[in-house]
């Protein structure tokens, strides 16, 4: 068992003073702080929630917790899907959502400095107003930027622009010991020792607490349009993806989706956008592709070229969303998949495996067969352009224990398959507490030990977010 200390009244008073009173205790700690959006990985209410406003408050609180071996779980908006923000060992939750200021833009260097609690949507909207684009585009628009960085969130535009990692220039970090340090700088290249900033990105709050971020932004594309491309089946849809990439059409987003999940999402949002039957042919799967261009002529050329290519590759038709409303409606259906599944499902788990794009069809066929073998209902969609698949396991009739057992068997098999074809456990959601076992198997002991060693260097008392990614106190 872990040997974290209990939060005594005296320690609470010390933390309250260090955080200038920004602390919730007792009945003020709501259940929301006990969970993220995937409660199947366990829930636990923290002993206290600290809601700091400044880096200095975070540092002062961390020092007290480090000196007294109190577990600290950093948390943003709590929209994670792997249990990352759940305080499994009690102690305090460090909620960064009150640090929510967009500090300022450096337009000449195309960068913006923000506090970690700014929501993704707030920054995206603020950039849009100024003709700028913050390229990462995770499905959950109400996540905090600190959380996005901590999970290296990907999203729809990763196929063209890369993931959050590619847009983090610099950060201020409070180490578990309470020291304040800065990683990275606002430059576009560096060869200056180990990249500590890259260690922080995707570390899921296990190495330090991010209190300020400088993010890269780009000028917004002048013209965008999306194509809804129905195919008779998933295989036909997926086999078109490498052709689109090889043709150098450089789509901004390239998503695949099967008919069932589209219908479920359209029911949820109350709109019907994706065609089900075209000229007597039933659509079984779709690609949703976005292109961007500097003017209308260039955009039309891209649309025409892409349409010709996909029709030749077996698409039933090509529908064009080139007005703001039509684009919004097409993407609203895609963005609501998770909420639509949640609304129709009592027990839910998820795998966000990533495989080379040439193995998507093979992997999904394997996953569907394995689900049948395990007697599990699954719903899949994903980022066809980068091989990141979201496979949801759903049940409305199994007991929780039975569901977990079947999911575990399913996961063991499909993660092994992912490793076999050169894939990784998580494309963008992270490891949290839910996927450690599968990560260990996928990476092997050597790599896990390297990660644990790094963890120990940053966090010698192992107080920060225990039970996540690579370290559990019971090991």
């Amino acid at each position: 068992m872990s040997d974290y200390n209990k939060l005594t009244d005296d320690l609470i008073d010390q933390i309250r003073a260090a955080a200038n009173g920004h602390i919730l205790t007792g009945e003020d700690v709501s259940d929301d702080f006990s969970r993220d959006e995937m409660p199947i990985y366990g829930t636990r209410t923290p002993d206290a929630v600290v809601q700091p406003l400044t880096t200095e408050e975070v540092a002062a609180v961390m020092k007290i917790c480090n000196d007294n071996k109190i577990a600290v779980t950093p948390r943003g908006a709590g929209t994670g899907l792997v249990g990352g923000a759940v305080p499994l060992y009690g102690g305090i939750v460090l909620d960064t959502t009150k640090m929510n200021k967009i500090i300022g833009y450096d337009l000449e260097n195309l960068a913006v400095t923000v506090q970690p609690g700014v929501l993704f949507k707030e920054l995206a909207d603020d950039c849009t107003k100024q003709g700028l684009l913050y390229p990462p585009d995770p499905g959950e628009k109400l996540a905090c930027l600190g959380g996005n960085v901590s999970t290296n969130a990907g999203g729809m535009r990763a196929v063209k622009y890369g993931t959050t990692r590619d847009y983090v220039r610099a950060m201020t970090v409070v180490l578990p010991t309470g020291e304040i340090t800065h990683f990275g700088s606002n430059v576009s290249k560096t060869s200056s020792g180990y990249s500590l900033i890259d260690l922080m990105i995707g570390s899921e709050g296990t190495l330090g607490v991010i209190t300020e971020l400088t993010l890269k932004i780009v000028p917004a594309p002048k013209k965008v349009a999306s194509l809804i491309i129905p195919f008779e089946d998933l295989e036909a849809a997926i086999s078109t993806v490498p052709k689109i990439k090889m043709a150098n059409l450089n789509p901004q987003a390239l998503e695949f989706m099967e008919k069932e999940i589209v219908l479920s999402s359209e029911r949820y949002i109350g709109k019907s956008v994706f065609p089900q039957k075209i000229d007597g042919l039933e659509a079984g799967a779709y690609l949703l592709v976005t292109f961007e261009a500097k003017d209308e002529d260039e955009l039309n050329d891209l649309i025409d070229e892409a349409s010709e290519l996909v029709l030749e590759a077996g698409a039933i038709d090509v529908l064009i969303a080139d007005t703001p409303s039509k684009m919004k409606d097409a993407w609203a259906a895609r963005s609501s998949f998770l909420e639509a599944i949640m609304a129709e499902t009592k027990l839910l788990d998820e795998c966000d495996v990533v495989v080379p794009i040439t193995h998507i069809t093979e992997f999904l066929t394997f996953a569907n067969a394995t689900a049948q073998e395990c007697d599990l209902t699954i719903k899949s969609f994903g980022h066809a352009g980068d091989g990141n698949l979201h496979i949801y396991e759903c049940s409305n009739d199994l007991t929780e224990d039975e569901f977990k057992n079947r999911v575990d068997t399913f996961f063991e098999k499909i993660y092994a398959k992912a490793t076999e074809v050169g894939g990784q456990v998580s494309g963008e959601h992270g490891i949290g507490s839910g996927k450690i076992k599968y990560l260990r198997r996928s990476l092997g002991d050597t790599n896990m030990q390297l990660m644990q060693g790094i963890k120990k260097v940053f966090d010698p008392n192992l107080i920060l977010n225990p039970g996540k990614v690579c370290y559990t106190p019971e090991d």
Binding site: K129, N300, D304, V318, T323
Partner: protein, 264 residues
Amino acid sequence: MEFLVCVKQVPDDSVEIHLNPETSTPDLSQADPEAGAFDTYAEELAVRFIEENEGSVTVVSVGTEDNKTCIKNSIAVGASSGYVVADEGTDCLDSAQVADLLAAAAAKIEEQEGKKFDIILCGKESTDAIGGQVGPLLAEKLNLPLVENAVEITSVDGGISVKQETDTGFMMYEIATPAVVTISKPDYDPRYPTIRSKMAARKAKIPTLSLSDLGITDLASEAKISSLGFEEPKKRQAGIKINETEAEEAVKKAMDQMIADKAL
């Protein structure tokens, strides 16, 4: 049935609009123009009608030459022809002026295409000014029957049956044609253009009707509204948090505050 659908080009309503500090007019630079939502429902309703029966759909838009993009989008989803009314001053008109131009344009298009419109459709309101006046004014100017907020039109002997959405349910009307009908949100969404229809629409010729084409010499005299200027809505002030733990004290504090603010 021959349909004329009147379409207004409006800024994308999902973008938050602020005033340009230099001109004190709305800064629309980040809001791409598109057809008003209710106008697109009107187009879809008309196209569905002619697919089930027969006839054709013509679209017309008052504004500038830029409105041709929006007309081409209409042609890509089933309209057979489209026109823009564009001339000096036609980009900034009130509802009465727009209705006047649409009435003249309807007559001109009928003359040019050698047909009579049976049904003139407008969206029930635009998504920018939300006046909801153009349809009724147009019916008045053309001296035609009018039904507002319709969600369904079917053909009956001697005219059409129109299902009107009301606050409490639906009203059914049977009216003679020609008629003007304004359209609310039906229980379906406008279709998406296909690549083939889009490519064809790009090549479509969209004639421009000038004021002189329409025989209008004095546009200004029709104006019923003059704009005095624009102001941004006042920022909402932060609320007052009542932290009293006892219900009685909390209610008293809330009441006192409301009395002080003259809300009670």
